[in-house]
Amino acid sequence: MSSIKDILTPFTAWKNVFKEPVTVKYPLTERPGAPRYRGFHKNDVQTCIGCGTCESICENEAIDMVAVAGFEAKDGDSGLRPKVDYGRCCWCALCVDVCTTGSLCLSNEYTWVDTDPDNFRFIPGVDEKSWDKNELGWKKPEGDYEFYGLKRVEMGELEPDERNHSFIEMIKGYSKQQAEKEADRCVECGICTATCPAHMGIPEYIKAIRNNDLEEGLRILYDTNPLPEICGRICTHKCESVCSVGHRGEPLSIRWLKRYIADQNPSEKYRAILETENLQKNGKKVAIIGAGASGLSAAHYLVKMGYEIEIFEKLSEAGGMMRYGIPEYRLPYDQIDKDINYILSLGVKIHYNVNVGKDITLKKMSEDFDAVFAGTGLHLGRSTCVEGTDHKHVYQSIELLRKITGGEEIHVAEKIVVIGGGNVAMDIARSLARLQKIKYGKVQVITTSLETEEKMPADREEVIEAREEMATVNPGWSPQRIEIVDGKIKGLHVVQCLSLFDETGKFNPQCNLDNKNFFEGDMIVESIGQGMDLSYITEDIKDHLEMGPRGRIRVNDNFQTSVPWLFMGGDTIQGPDVIHGIANGHKAALGIDKFLIEK
């Protein structure tokens, strides 16, 4: 039975109509994540280099490295970018904290509704999202919160006053502890491998150091580089310039780590470690002209494939520019010998003091051997040809370096001017500085180059070390003439050099003739590049050789010339660089093998 009260009671609720509600209005319109909230990813794809470290660290395998239109693989950038699968991401942000370039971060956006689960896989920074412009969210914390060391393990070297009066090796090398600590900084991305001309397995051999398996390390080195003691000291280490760790810190000391592996393995164990004790011969013979980097490299890989190898070397010792061009304080002779002796131990023969073209003709070689590889290098100095260069105390750096190696006495004046801004110029300046220190007790060497300080082709450390040894480096000047009074050199007149190349990229130096300078000196050394001597290639062969740009002989991908039995590599083909020479020699060896199998 109902009463009047039951009918009226519901209406009492109406009294609340105008009261402030105590509940929150739905849907939620505004509730941003906290400033450091770990929401959806953002990636600055222009800064990202696709090193894949985010993928490697992800415990949930939520990240794939995928190709993205508009990003090509190039030196220092794989062209890949991370794609995140939010079905697996747990928002831990390890990917952000390890990111080598700092391009990756998390926004504070966490709400997103979609009916298609595949939309929850996307490439941050490429697939546009509403939170791309959110400033807030998780970024790698500042301070010493780092997953890998940003600073290099310092390399011990002789102090300038310990080294400036002798040719003792100045770099001391890493200890086991130092090498392992340095190796520990590697993130194993492998971006460096493409940039290395020999495509060495860099992350792999660094890993071998971490695992203290230096025999494995040596095997990895020899897969692509049969001169590791040499390269471990004087390689131009292009790999280090693209090292992903170098984006936020100092790149790995890849060169010194390579040296560490080679230094730690005793030469008498090489053949056992590298499993080359029982090489089978295949009955074919290949001649190699020049025992430099490319020739030795080709010899090594060919002899391993079973070829009988004879090298014809013009000088009395093997090594080419590595021995005769690079001073002993950078590359001691016993280390060159260690690499070369191993190659000789495999059965490679070297005929020393043989001048191909005079003592034996190329034609005769082509008859006696199945193929010929020429790695004859750049051994002729170039002259600036300014007034006065015909004076007897104007020298070519390359000749002086060769004489210093050969133990010959050279003229060392009290005041010397070196023209050139490359590594060879630094080598001769620093060698002469040492000889001056020994002879006069003081250093008065000045080097000058067309290029300004920033554009000098020499490695930065070479310039710094030259200055530490009291040589003066004064770049940005163009030589005009050598002043000679009463038959004696007084110095070099120069004017300011403004630019080297014109708009078309052609070498065409522009100078400011009003800004003059004079470098005092009684001896001048020219070090502005080297040329090749191909006089051993006789006309009948030359007629069949196709030439490429800049007077170089054209070769195909296998370093084969248009004369099928003649292969060429090294500095004559790719310019002065040891590691390119080694890579050329290796590729030529594979090319020769292919050619002789198909023949």
């Binding site: 993928e55 995928v66 890949l80």
Partner: protein, 175 residues
């Protein structure tokens, strides 16, 4: 906050005090003193609200860290109490008598980390992992990847590239 910590210091041994921000401080104490400290904070310092408790596996040190977060609603501040216990046969004094919901957290920690809280109601019952037959999954020696590969099917359409291999294909495929 400093005042509260100073007071606590007279009554308990505090190992580490970390002022994370104005309204949040972390304090590390002995396992034996933890529960009495929680009771003291609740009854004398106004930390009436229990926010949460959680654990961290410091497998290298052979320890579990347990963290309790308490809130003082009047002063609007949080205080987190950390303690470390041995990882092997991990056992911790229960605190369910201070706040009822602690029992639920302790049940979860038993399941996820294998930390026992003797006397805690229903602590041995499954929390969310019914029929779990492996080591507790939040322990760091639990191989999540292996488990996932054995248990679930892979998502279609996924595929990745090794940067170094990819660069070889693109830049020097014939070498």
């Amino acid at each position: 906050m400093k005042k509260i910590i100073e007071n606590l210091g007279y009554k308990f041994i505090l190992y580490e005090v970390e002022y994370q921000r104005k309204n949040l401080t972390f304090v590390t104490v002995d396992k034996e003193n933890t529960v009495q400290l929680l009771a003291y904070l609740r009854d004398y310092e106004g930390f009436k609200h229990f926010v949460l408790m959680t654990a961290v596996d410091w497998i290298e040190d052979g320890l579990f860290q347990i963290t309790y977060i308490l809130n003082n609603p009047k002063k609007k501040i949080d205080l987190a109490i950390r303690t470390k216990i041995l990882r092997e046969k991990a056992k911790m004094t229960t605190a369910h008598h201070l706040w009822n919901q602690v029992a639920t957290y302790q049940r979860e920690l038993k399941e996820m980390f294998g930390i026992d809280f003797p006397g805690s109601p229903r602590v041995n019952e499954s929390f969310i992992l019914e029929g779990w037959d492996n080591i507790p999954p939040m322990r760091r020696d639990f191989d999540t990847k292996k488990y996932a590969e054995e248990t679930y099917f892979p998502r279609l359409g996924r595929g990745t590239n090794d940067p170094s291999e990819y660069m070889k294909q693109k830049l020097y495929p014939n070498e």
